[in-house]
Symmetry: C2
Subunit: 269 residues, 2 copies
């Protein structure tokens, strides 16, 4: 038994083992194919134990081996897709997102805040075709995106919010700039407007779905080419659809413009 | 320390621990929210070790706790979505799937064979809205689906293929029925046609992407209402698009109707 193997064995407490499995799968974040050497280096695991864990994960379908390289397995996709597919807000949002895309021609995203980023849970529409950050399952810095600022505007404080260097000249750089933008979001009734903050040439508008107290805080957004974005129309459409999704997800229906709870309606309400 | 805990500890070999983490995450397959009792029962794990593993997975973001219930975490979705997003065939297929959906109004799926099922890697289109089996990340029995039979028709043998009870009166029940259908698929130049084999009211046509020797064997399909399916048009559209996707994914382009390899072209070819 080599020295690294001895060290590996002594770290095989249950929690350490969970962490190793997780860290091994996490190295594929942003990398499609990796060799054993790359995996063991990135996961900070001895080559022997990385190999041992990989072998088992391949047998379980969580990792796939193609020649000398490994990728995440189809089982990861299958389980992961259920996280979103069974979510109530996502289910409620789908028909409205298709409707928005159909009526405006713009691409609709459903996104949530994950630490300092927004993560796209759903996307309806093909444009922009090549931009990685706008894809399903991708992240964008919250402060640079309309979806992120729509969600941030609902809170008073964001102590741990990061301000990554903007990828464009239009991205927000400071807490003061952000506060000013969030004032405008609140003046607009909660709708955030972004002009090329994430990507040159792409504009977006976003509205939060439901109040800030709700469990899953998600934003609905529409993006389109910055030089041809029908901003006013998109602001109105996104605000209305976000409200409709919230009513649909929370079992509330609107009657003559007034929200009425479907379950336990009060006659005098 | 209780008896179950002692048993649990003695099973904490690395492989056993990987299996326990995996089996614990796998119990969420088909279940959105589960209690600790349900998880420990379904994963065949003592309650104490299920709780210990869950706690760590919650800290890592792989599982989320909501009150007394657990769900898969957003991190599973994020990693899982990369499996497909970074796949070459998927990337090549997206524009053609959007084009197909736009020109036919039918819903396009990109699916792969996983044991006896097809698993949907991508879906463009909103219809059918409520049917779980047609959703992104969902599975359908290969023998009952057009996508499955388009892929099965490329192989001569399928020794371990299962014939689950069809959900409709139209599903294929026997190996003989399947062989007859696959003959028709081959007569149609590889395109499979299914009339309500998976779901009453839903018809589909499917073509394999690329030859059977290729690495990722995927099928492209179009589905629509059985009573208004433009079958001939869909067969032609799906066959053409599947070919285009294969050329795009494999770096081959077609010039005046003749495939020409982009890299290493031969002058006399």
């Amino acid at each position: 038994m080599t020295t690294t193997e001895t060290t590996a064995r002594s770290q095989d407490t249950p929690t350490a083992m969970i962490d190793r499995v997780a860290s091994l799968l996490e190295v594929f974040d942003g990398h499609h194919r990796l060799t054993l050497a790359q995996i063991s280096r990135r996961a900070h695991l001895p080559r022997s134990s990385a190999h041992r864990i990989l072998q088992r994960l391949v047998e379980l379908g969580w990792v796939e081996r193609q020649g000398f390289q490994y990728t995440l397995g189809i089982r990861m996709f299958e389980l992961g897709s259920q996280v979103v597919r069974r979510d109530r807000v996502h289910q409620a949002a789908l028909p409205f997102m298709h409707g928005l895309h159909h009526s405006t021609g713009l691409t609709a995203h459903l996104s949530v805040l994950v630490s300092s980023d927004v993560l796209h849970l759903e996307r309806i529409g093909h444009w922009p075709e090549q931009e990685q950050g706008w894809r399903l399952g991708a992240r964008q810095p919250a402060v640079h995106s309309a979806a992120g600022r729509a969600l941030l505007a609902q809170s008073e404080e964001w102590p741990e919010l990061a301000f990554p260097s903007p990828a464009t000249a239009y991205g927000i750089r400071t807490r003061t700039q952000l506060s000013r933008d969030l004032e405008r979001v609140r003046d607009r009734g909660g709708v955030a407007v972004d002009d090329q903050g994430c990507t040159v040439g792409i504009a977006a508008v976003a509205a939060p779905i439901g109040p800030s107290e709700s469990n899953l805080r998600a934003a609905l957004s529409l993006c389109g080419p910055a030089d041809a974005m029908p901003t006013d129309k998109a602001v109105a459409a996104v605000r209305m659809a976000a409200m409709d999704i919230w009513y649909a997800a929370s079992g509330v229906t609107r009657l003559r413009g007034r929200p009425v709870r479907l379950i336990a309606t009060t006659r005098n309400q």
